[in-house]
Subunit: 392 residues, 2 copies
């Protein structure tokens, strides 16, 4: 993988970049749609490309359990399996495993857990997490890290960080090649000193890129922006910085200003399936009675397939009818929104007007009035609420 | 609506035809995908057109209840609402109402029933069924008929037929225009004399086309083909004949040979969502373990998007993952299969080789080995099995 900074913003730490992988190029700042089970829900690869997606993410945890990484390898690898012959990133599975805390047992050696599918027992070590991802064949793979819960005391966060650091060392040991690229993940909770320590050790080990993990786990926005703002500048200038599991458009904008290059989040796709649609003035809930006979598109002027052809009234009808086309049309709109947003951000950086872009965005965006459900909390079928990354 | 016979087969009663409607042309014999709630499940109109669909069906019952026919009319009509500016047929709602027998009360005046959505009470008369369909604005609309249950005694079937005939007269009374076209529905159970009587009365009233209703309701194949074979030739030669709720490719082929022009059925779309895929040699169940690592497409040589790009292994994975893309890709394949089948049938009629086409089809098609679940039986959420048209 080769990362190149094409331009630096003069009023912030934002950068415009281009990343070459074995399966093609993607531009940064980049939004990475999440394709959990070897599919970005509802979307074909052609549709994703048409709307500007250049890189997608798939989850190792899920694919390891079903259909299995060796099976995918025998079938020619994940790109071929899912018909996405473009840049592809896999995560290590760590976050999902840790999120299902009740079912996981951690030791220095690795993580023992039980499959959510059939209860079978599994043991993942850093070495195995790398082997699985190599079998899948992504272009960028991630270290196995321990996801520090939130909140955590300084002592807990430090202990957790030590585990991540020793596991990262082991991942690097078994994966010395440049292709796929291996990213280290900076943990340390919300503690500046721990985050700094993490950066020091990871950069000393030496990775092809660096992610910030353990964010968007329940902390407030200000804390998240602080941690990003303190940590990103410490990372090597000429390697990509990736904030995992983030986020709302405004969050990504702030992070980009702090020098972040890559983001992944289920928000646009999950919100879509729940009838929540992104517009320049904030999110709208399509089921709202006021749209029952609204002939206009979700966002007048939006060039996406959904807005060009369908009314809010129809989308609302499909929503209540629980039709699959509802999920599709909403996903098309939301992903288009996210990808167009990033593309406009890149253009703004290229043309030295990121500040204007930001002011314009902030002047129009209204946060949702209803109480914001923490996107990282979700319920197990038992109804028990656990902390689960927005990445699942 | 204008129907024109372009060619007649010399060895059977099959005809090649073309039907002009206010929203364009469709060719017969035609397969009509079912779009129950103003959407053919999972598919966009563009995709349907690309695979050769020229006319689709939408269900009045569902749209009357939600979002309401007057709402759709105010929004510009059903074509515009669902972004299908092509030939469109609506049924009268009769079948769905009658299928929910436990909830419906029939009198000469009309049918009182309770909404399956919210239990609210409604009363549909023949006049209202016409008014609803006119509000929706389809190109072809159907009379309100009483769906004779199966089995039924001769006396029951006759009584039921009388109701259909008097309702059909009332439908014609309130809808004298040619546009939309109004089709009468031939009932009479499996009784030749009643079917003949039905044709006599309906043709005397005079409709723009004639459907055969009350088939594929549990009777065996031989009975169904017999009734079609006895009834179709009695209908006016130069008007379209439409068998509702049918069926398997072989069924349609036999019916075409008896002079039928139009068919609708949920089979390809519903089977798709259940992981059952049509091939020239019969249906296959994608979840079968033998496909777990099968790199080949569902049908080698099939030019549909699914077969061009995805393996059986991937489709099987998506099926177990319960991914929306599974429903999409399977639907694309099955609808392509059905529409290509009809298109090949039309070409065979045009080229005087329908007989060869039929022999070739029959030599390759193997009926499903597992016990054939009657496609017309389905379960209410209560688990109570009721007779429900494959058209729902």
């Amino acid at each position: 993988m080769q990362f190149e900074i094409l331009k630096k913003d003069d009023k912030s730490r934002a950068r415009l970049g281009r990343c070459r992988t074995a399966h093609g190029v993607f531009h940064t700042p980049a939004f990475i749609p999440v394709g959990t089970q070897a599919t970005v829900k509802t979307m074909t690869p052609e549709e994703l490309r048409d709307m500007g997606a250049e890189i997608i993410l798939s989850n190792t945890y899920h694919l390891y359990l079903r259909p299995g990484h060796e099976r995918i390898r025998r079938l020619g690898g994940l790109h071929r399996f899912m018909h996405w012959e473009h840049p592809l990133l896999t995560d290590s599975g760590g976050f999902q495993i840790f999120s299902l805390k009740a079912l996981a047992k951690v030791s220095e050696e690795g993580v023992e857990f039980h499959s959510h599918l059939d209860g079978s027992r599994h043991f993942i070590t850093p070495e195995k997490a790398i082997a699985i991802q190599e079998a899948l064949g992504a272009d960028i793979i991630m270290c196995l890290d321990e996801c520090t819960p939130y909140p955590a005391s300084h002592e807990e966060a430090e202990r957790s960080l030590q585990r991540t650091l020793s596991w990262s060392r082991r991942c690097r040991e078994v994966h010395r090649s440049f292709d796929p690229a291996l990213f280290g993940i900076v943990q340390g909770g919300m503690y500046s000193d721990l985050r700094q320590k993490a950066v020091e050790v990871l950069t000393e080990i030496g990775f092809d890129g660096y992610a910030l993990g353990g964010l968007s786990v329940g902390e407030d926005k200000e804390t998240m922006v602080r941690v990003i703002g303190e940590t990103a500048p410490l990372l090597p200038e000429n390697l990509p910085r990736y904030v995992m599991g983030v986020g709302m458009p405004g969050d990504m904008l702030e992070a980009v200003r702090e020098g972040v290059d890559m983001f992944d989040c289920v928000l646009p796709t999950r919100n879509a399936r729940n009838g929540m649609l992104f517009t320049r003035s904030g999110r709208m809930t399509i089921k709202n009675a006021k749209y029952a006979e609204d002939p206009s598109p979700v966002e007048p002027g939006c060039p996406c397939y959904t807005c060009r052809n369908y009314s809010r009234a129809y989308l609302r009808h499909l929503h209540f009818a629980e039709e699959i086309l509802s999920f599709r049309l909403n996903t098309i709109h939301n992903l288009h929104f996210y990808l167009a947003f990033m593309q406009e951000m890149r253009a703004a950086i290229a043309e030295d007007r990121l500040d204007e872009f930001r002011q314009d965005f902030n002047s129009r965006w209204k946060p949702t009035v209803e109480p914001e459900r923490n996107p990282n909390l979700t319920s197990l079928p038992t109804g028990k609420r656990i902390s689960l990354s927005a990445r699942i």
